[in-house]
Symmetry: C2
Subunit: 522 residues, 2 copies
């Protein structure tokens, strides 16, 4: 039976420690999906703890989607494992899935990727990983997940504003929220965008929705399913998935050092381009003004061309003068601006918004406003108060300082480590990640396997390319100038400061296994 | 300039009274969409009130979407008017819309139905109305809108559970909600469905989403855009709109006294049928067991056929034995069950759910679980506590008693009025509305115009038919046995008990204008 030593749980309570042990084993593939967990009673007896302890751990694991229960059958590991754990070695057969019987016996669907849920950590933009499947240590530091810590969320203010909303707005709370959002929130967003991004818009142009995925869907309905949508390569794979799930033609367009390439947009015959010019993920590229005007020119060349500008982490810019948005220099109503509070405030706040150019706005109202609003009035009014009361600005400033501090500590540790002589840091002035390029004779897959064995969760740039073959074609410079192998994407928003020193030590250890040389850009 | 007498505002504060006056004029078409409202200052001066009063009224109107503002230009009436107000008389030109300049000058889009929002009242299932456009009295009683009153929502309990959630779940609140919803809520829904609907399902089968519209979208992606979707005729027009906005083939299928007609489903070559067998809106038909098995048989005849069972107001059944759901007698995994808390709890709670049969569930996870969850963890945990704590059951019981009382009062008043001798009540044992069939020589449009002039907002059955011409073809019995002209749809969930007597008096007055005769069913 599964056994853990619970003699030293550190600061954690027993149940939390047990939860972490099991979760780690699931994430590391030691407990593959479909594995039946011990019954609560026998597990408790075996571990020498109370039934309640096991029950609490299982409950938490279940609520986060790591495990699930079948009536009268017990608890099983979810398919989340497939997303987050290493695959079997080439040549080895992957472990057969123990398909739980009962409820899911009827699974005859294609794909067959049964019963998987997307828990918090892996959900937003999961990175495929490849390495061997041997026992791995628990994840010590996670440089992949963007996770907000509870300490960073102003719970007491949020709770206070929620109370105020309930006591002041009982009438309004009982009404269905309008399709585009309640006026107070749209107007607060408007004021925020004016102050922080210099954008001059009316509240009516702001359309609020439950997450960007939902708004993407609305945009597909608005702009047309018959259009050709272009997404960045490399880029978030999720955006393409949303488009493809709607059956629209979605094409990959290459990047150079200035952002998405206009000639490729033309070559792909794109109608709509979906970009993040302020801070591209994962390369960190900030599209300069010249390219921005080229993009606007591209869009202006045909009546039905549009640019979707995803400004998802613009709040966390450390440079002095953040680049103005495409929306604010768009004279021809070609830009749809998007942003989200999910990233800037907390993952739990499912509130995103888009700013429609006026002529699209009237079409939106005429054609799509029969859709009910997706965000509850409770949260809309509370968020409106949060912004209007200046709390959002304070929160952003506090988080920006915090992240800057984490970044600086991380950069300093890297600078003082053996990595300094064989690595190069890029795109560190914006967003919540940077690129660490490493010059080593180790093949990329070997490097990444070592990283994992050191208990580090890090993705590399090549994983974000649509066509993996090209991306993996050695340590060669891409035409646009970006080397994307041996380039680690260092997402530091979820890293605790006290863990940085040790994480860098472990990373250095991985690299020192091969021969290194100073980084040479030519 | 617009002027109102504010000398007798009753129990209302000045600003609320002013808000109501303006809102009424907008709803009645006296202030058509696009009308510029007086500036706050001049309006305040004219009315002899403070600027703050006008500002507050405008603010409330704006927050509900009745008016909107353009920077430096002032306030305008929204296009909501089109949905809720009478059109111009036949032969008369409709009033030209005063298109606001500025922000919307660039409106060149087709449809041209600029800047309309869908405020609470009119949003969910708006009924088109037709009558002459003359000055109309304020709406005295609204038999169209399903509106929850603030008194009926357990604010203090909700607030308490929200506080508990914030203090107990700070870790979980910071995580992104999983695509299908948090486990606690799905498990609570599961227990609720077992207790109230005798359904035996696992929590994993429950998929939570921000409103039924969102879930319909997910279902289209899951079941396929290439399928033929069938909706009920008559029925909610919105369901068809969602399907059409996704560009899928959506067909209307006729009803008889037992529900949707199987032979028409076959004739239309439908793959997916979207029905509300427990209580059809607006006819109130409850599909009997025999037809239910016929429907399951229809679905079983082809592998890709499915039934979407919308059980939207099953909580408010007054009869002793509520009909079991299709889902619970479905042995072949053909039924997708849907329900919503928006209707049973409050319009502001944007939480709906669907129950997927196991084989579809695994496809859902494999193909669509990359979509982020749409309901915030705050509300998911709070609702889970609300259900688990027994508060939902209490709320349902309280509301059922309340609605039963409203219904009984209304039926008694009708029974004691002149309506008794020329009307017939149908389908009063379920849901929150019944059908009042009136036998009069007045043409239906004349009757409905009188109703409106009496300050009553009532829709009639013929408005819910897809093909209006057939529906309006006189007072003839339809093949299925349902007479649908002169059939008023009496939605009583938004009616205050103290207004019932007067509302029935006014309705009687409308009817007495024509010649009546006792209702003859043959």
């Amino acid at each position: 039976m599964l056994t853990y030593s619970l003699s030293d749980t550190g600061a954690d309570s027993l149940y939390l420690y047990l939860y972490k042990c099991i979760k780690n084993d699931i994430l590391n593939g030691i407990l593959p999906s479909g594995t039946k967990l011990p019954s609560k009673r026998s597990f408790a007896k075996n571990l020498g703890v109370s039934n309640i302890t096991v029950e609490s751990s299982y409950g938490l694991l279940q609520s986060e989607g790591y495990i699930f229960s079948l009536p009268k059958r017990g608890f099983y590991v979810s398919d989340i494992a497939f997303a987050a754990v290493p695959r079997a070695k080439d040549g080895e057969n992957p472990k057969p899935r123990t398909a739980p019987a009962g409820c899911f016996a009827a699974d005859t669907a294609p794909g067959g990727n049964a019963l998987q849920d997307t828990p918090s950590a892996a959900c937003p933009r999961t990175v495929p990983q490849s390495a061997e499947c041997t026992a791995l240590p628990p994840v010590f530091a996670d440089f992949v997940t963007n996770h907000t810590t509870p300490e960073s969320f102003p719970f007491s203010i949020w709770a206070k504003l929620l109370r105020e909303t309930i006591s002041q707005k009982s009438d309004e709370l009982m009404a269905a929220p309008p399709c585009g959002g309640i006026f107070e929130l749209r107007s607060a967003i408007c004021a925020h965008l004016k102050q922080f991004r210099g954008m001059e818009i009316c509240p009516e142009q702001v359309i609020v929705g439950a997450g960007t995925d939902y708004l993407y869907t609305m945009l597909i309905l608005l702009l047309g399913r018959d259009k050709i949508y272009a997404v960045e390569n490399p880029g978030y794979t999720k955006i393409e998935k949303v488009y493809r799930s709607h059956g629209v033609d979605c094409r990959f367009v290459g990047m150079d050092a200035c952002g998405i390439k206009i000639e490729d947009l033309n070559a792909q015959d794109a109608d709509i381009v979906h970009i993040s010019p302020s801070h591209h993920y994962p390369t960190g590229i900030v599209t300069p003004v010249s390219r921005r005007y080229e993009l606007l020119g591209w869009a202006a060349a045909r009546p039905l061309r549009y640019i979707i500008e995803d400004d998802y982490d613009s709040e966390f810019r450390f440079a002095a003068h953040p680049m103005p948005t495409l929306q604010s220099i768009d004279a021809a109503e070609k830009v749809i601006y998007m942003n989200t509070f999910t990233k800037s405030l907390a993952s739990t706040i499912r509130i995103s918004y888009m700013v429609l150019p006026p002529h699209l706005l009237s079409r939106f109202y005429a054609e799509l406003s029969f859709y009910s609003g997706t965000v509850s009035n409770f949260e809309q009014y509370t968020l409106a108060k949060f912004i209007r009361g200046g709390y959002f600005e304070k929160h952003i400033n506090r988080m920006r300082n915090y992240y800057r501090c984490v970044r600086d500590t991380l950069l300093a540790e890297i600078g003082n480590s053996p990595l300094a002589s064989c690595s190069k840091i890029a795109e560190e002035s914006a967003g919540l990640h940077f690129i660490l390029r490493i010059n080593t004779t180790l093949p990329e897959n070997e490097l990444m396997a070592r990283v994992k064995r050191q208990g580090l969760r890090i993705s590399c740039l090549s994983e974000y390319y649509h066509i993996k073959e090209t991306a993996a074609a050695g340590n060669a410079k891409k035409p646009g100038g970006f080397i994307h192998t041996h380039a680690l994407v260092m997402n530091y928003s979820g890293i605790r400061r006290e863990d940085i020193k040790e994480a860098v030590r472990r990373l250095s250890k991985c690299v020192l296994a091969g021969q290194q040389r100073p980084f040479d850009d030519t």
